[in-house]
Amino acid sequence: LTPRVIAVCGKGGVGKTTVSAITSHELFRRKDRRALIIDADPAGGLQMALHFPEGTSINQVRVETINEIKKKNRDKKDLARGIDYMLARALIEKGHLAFLSLGRPEEVGCYCSVNTLLQEAIEELSGKFDLTLIDAEAGIEQVNRNVMKAVDYLLLVADTSAKAVKVAETIRRLHLRAPEKERPDCSSIGLIRGRRLRGSKGGRTLTSLAGSLRMRPSESSTAKTFPSSTCPPVRRRKR
């Protein structure tokens, strides 16, 4: 099955944004499906990598909505329409790709209803695209906080360091251990391992690998896909 929502996760600095950027570029080149790209990393690296101009972030939409509530009373439907409007305004479009950035969190107090409405609006928006690619925040936080509930393909990225492998393994375990209803609806988990960006011998470069992803599980030696129920642990390769 072709995945519809892919999240690229892993430790910081292992190449998640590079993989996301290359995949986005490939999607742009192919022009065969409408894709929503979400930069969920507050550092905003993907936006820079794709040369998208700075626009309104999801967090800014959140703040704007909260300020709106503070100014006037708003019922839920009215708020939901407003969030849809602001998200549409925040989309940066390039051909058949649309880009949304999470942005930096801004403390304006706890507004759970706004967060829920926002999450629902993003999920609804994502549902209108053929594919959604999420460049996740480094580490395990977003997986832990159940941010990526609708993800159906978890793409783990790790380099050869023990720490990166451990983070990838932790994400995999967190995913499998989560209660069924809270678990991302992943049909499979993929792993891209190693950083052979320059003249790799026998291995594939990240660029060629991203080209071969085709939004389908790859059988290459550096990218493996496992059904999530039988997903084997991520281990360091013995030299």
Binding site: R81, D84, H96, F129
Partner: protein, 237 residues
């Protein structure tokens, strides 16, 4: 006196003035029935025409009138979709409903949902009722198949006819330019204040008028006072 009588009269005067100077036309509703309904995502590259883009002028108004309209109607001030001749244009969608709406804000919400939940194939809508803004995109395919603002007006009338107590609908679209939208800013501001006051008294359930930001509009519009007194009575019993 009806709740929105003041701004509705201003809007009707504006439309009458436009029609006198041959600046408007009535679209035959029957001719435009039956366009399929569909929730669309239309990206910029698929957009043939964009109306009310946040960077352009945009206005979405909804109000009711006590007087019974003789017939449902769709009036267009400015060019229709096929005649616009450019990619973006300012846009106003004004929906006036006749009928009996005693329950104030509850009735307004019902009407609002009917208006803003209407969908047409090949047309994408984004609305922000709190800021009276509407933004639509129309794709090339819909334009090639003859989509007109008449179809939208007809769909709005159909959706509103299912709301209880609605006896007639007048839809006015303005595509003539920013200058005409500016002429509607006064009634728009009054409608916003009336709806705001109605919403506040319904949601907050506090009836202390001292220091309330809507005190002026409540003193002016008798119908708002009636709603307030009724809600207060309901609360006390």
């Amino acid at each position: 006196m009806g709740l929105f009588d003041g701004p509705v009269r201003e809007i009707e005067n504006f439309v009458a003035g436009k029609c006198e100077s041959a600046g408007c036309r009535k679209l035959p509703i029957r001719h435009y029935r039956g366009w399929p309904s569909q929730d669309n995502l239309i990206l910029e590259e698929e957009t043939a025409i964009e109306l009310g883009n946040p960077k352009e002028g945009s206005l979405a108004l909804l109000a009711w009138a006590e007087e019974k309209f003789e017939e449902d109607s769709v009036v267009l001030i400015g060019p229709d979709l096929a005649e616009i001749g450019k990619r973006t244009a300012p846009f106003a969608q004004i929906v006036l409903v006749s009928g009996s709406f005693d329950e104030g804000y509850h009735c307004f919400c019902e009407l609002r949902d009917a208006v803003y939940d209407a969908r047409l194939k090949g047309m994408m809508f984004r609305v922000m009722p709190s800021r009276q803004m509407i933004w639509t995109r129309i794709n090339q395919e819909a334009l090639d198949h003859g989509l007109s603002l008449g179809h939208l007006g007809s769909a709005l009338i159909e959706a509103l006819s299912e709301v209880p107590n609605v006896s007639g609908v007048r839809v006015v679209f303005v595509t003539s330019g920013e200058h005409d939208l500016t002429k509607l800013s006064a009634p728009a501001a009054r409608i916003e204040r009336i709806v705001g006051a109605m919403m506040k008294m319904t949601e907050e359930m506090r009836y202390d008028c001292d220091g309330c930001e809507y005190r002026d509009v409540c003193s002016e519009v008798a119908e708002l006072k009636k709603i307030r007194n009724r809600l207060k009575e309901e609360k006390e019993t």
